[in-house]
C-alpha cells in the first residue's frame, strides 16, 4: 500500500524557534489520522451514541461538545447528530439508524502542548478556554483565521483538527504566533 503523504509534509521541520528559554508552546503533527464520522437521526441518536460508546468500552455517549475516550479510541460529539470516531473503524450502522463516512484524509491534526498552550490559542480562537468553560475532554468547533476548525482539549494539551486544504496556511499562522512564546516542534 502506498504511503500517506500528509498535507504538511515538507512544510515544517522539528526544532526550537522563537523566544529563548523554556518553550511555551509545543507543536506536533499527528500522522495517519484515522477519523470516521457517524451520524444518527433524531430518534436514533441515543441508540447510536450508546453503540459508539460501547465500541470503545465506555458507558455513555458524549454529550454536546464532549469527548469520551479509552485505549481503543475516542468518540467526539461535534454536532447535534454527528460523532467523530478516532482510531478505530465504526461499527456497522443500518441506514434506518444512521450512516458513517470515512473522513480520515479530510483533516490534518496538530497537537498543541506546553505551559502557554492556552494563552497561545487565545490569540487564534474566539473561544472561552478558561478552565471552567473548557475543561478536559471538551470539544469545540470555531473559526481560526477564517477557517472552520475543531479543538479537543485532551489530557492537558489540545488536538486541533484543520481541513486538509488549509493545513499549510494555518500551520504558518500557528508557527508565527507561537514564536513569542518560544516554540518547539517535534
Amino acid at each position: 500500500m502506498a504511503n500517506r503523504l500528509s498535507a504538511l509534509a515538507g512544510h515544517y521541520s522539528p526544532g526550537r524557534f522563537g523566544a529563548e528559554g523554556q518553550a511555551g508552546v509545543h507543536l506536533s503533527v499527528v500522522a495517519d489520522l484515522r477519523l470516521h464520522q457517524v451520524a444518527a437521526w433524531p430518534d436514533s441518536l441515543p441508540a447510536v451514541g450508546q453503540l459508539l460508546a460501547n465500541s470503545i468500552g465506555q458507558a455513555a455517549k458524549p454529550g454536546p461538545g464532549c469527548a469520551i475516550s479509552s485505549e481503543q479510541g475516542a468518540v467526539l460529539r461535534i454536532e447535534p447528530l454527528k460523532f467523530w470516531l478516532l482510531n478505530l473503524d465504526p461499527p456497522t450502522i443500518e441506514a434506518e439508524q444512521g450512516c458513517s463516512l470515512d473522513l480520515s484524509h479530510s483533516r490534518t491534526c496538530v497537537h498543541i502542548d506546553g505551559p502557554q498552550a492556552q494563552e497561545f490559542l487565545g490569540r487564534l480562537l474566539p473561544l472561552d478556554l478558561r478552565a471552567a468553560a473548557f475543561p478536559d475532554n471538551r470539544v469545540a468547533s470555531s473559526a481560526l483565521h477564517h477557517v472552520g476548525v475543531t479543538l479537543w482539549h485532551r489530557g492537558g494539551g489540545y488536538d486541533l483538527f484543520i481541513p486538509r486544504g488549509f493545513a499549510v496556511s494555518i500551520w504558518e499562522v500557528l508557527h508565527a504566533t507561537a514564536l513569542q512564546f518560544g516554540l518547539e516542534i517535534s
Binding site: 437521526w41 433524531p42 430518534d43 441518536l45 454529550g63 454536546p64 461538545g65 461535534i78 454536532e79 447535534p80 447528530l81 474566539p126 469545540a140 468547533s141 470555531s142 473559526a143 472552520g148
Partner: protein
C-alpha cells in the same frame, strides 16, 4: 458584535455564523401555485424592532437556528434549533444532565 447562544455550542461571536433569512416564512409545497411561491420568495417585511431570523452556525456545529432579535438594539430574545428533531434531542440531553 452580536453574540448568539447556540443551543449546541454555547455563546459565540456572530462571525461564526451566517445570516440566513426570514424565519417567519412558511415555504409552500413545491407544486403550490405561483402566487404562493411569489409571496414566499419575494415579499418581506422590513421590521424595525423584534424579528424572527434564521442563522446557521457555519464555523461551529452547522446547525440552522431560529433567532428572535431586535433590529435596532441587537438584543437577542430567543434562540432555538430550526429542526424540531434537533430541538428534541438537545432538550432531552439537557434534562438528563440537570
Amino acid at each position: 458584535m452580536i453574540r448568539i447562544d447556540c443551543p449546541f455550542c454555547g455563546l459565540r461571536d456572530h462571525s461564526e455564523f451566517s445570516y440566513g433569512g426570514d424565519a417567519s416564512i412558511n415555504y409552500p409545497p413545491l407544486d403550490a401555485p405561483a402566487e404562493q411561491w411569489h409571496d414566499a420568495v419575494f415579499l418581506r417585511e422590513n421590521i424595525r424592532g423584534r424579528q424572527l431570523e434564521t442563522w446557521q452556525h457555519t464555523s461551529g456545529c452547522r446547525m440552522w437556528l431560529n433567532v428572535e432579535r431586535d433590529t435596532v438594539s441587537h438584543e437577542i430574545f430567543a434562540v432555538w434549533p430550526a429542526h424540531r428533531g434537533y430541538g428534541r434531542v438537545l432538550h432531552a440531553e439537557k434534562e438528563n444532565t440537570e
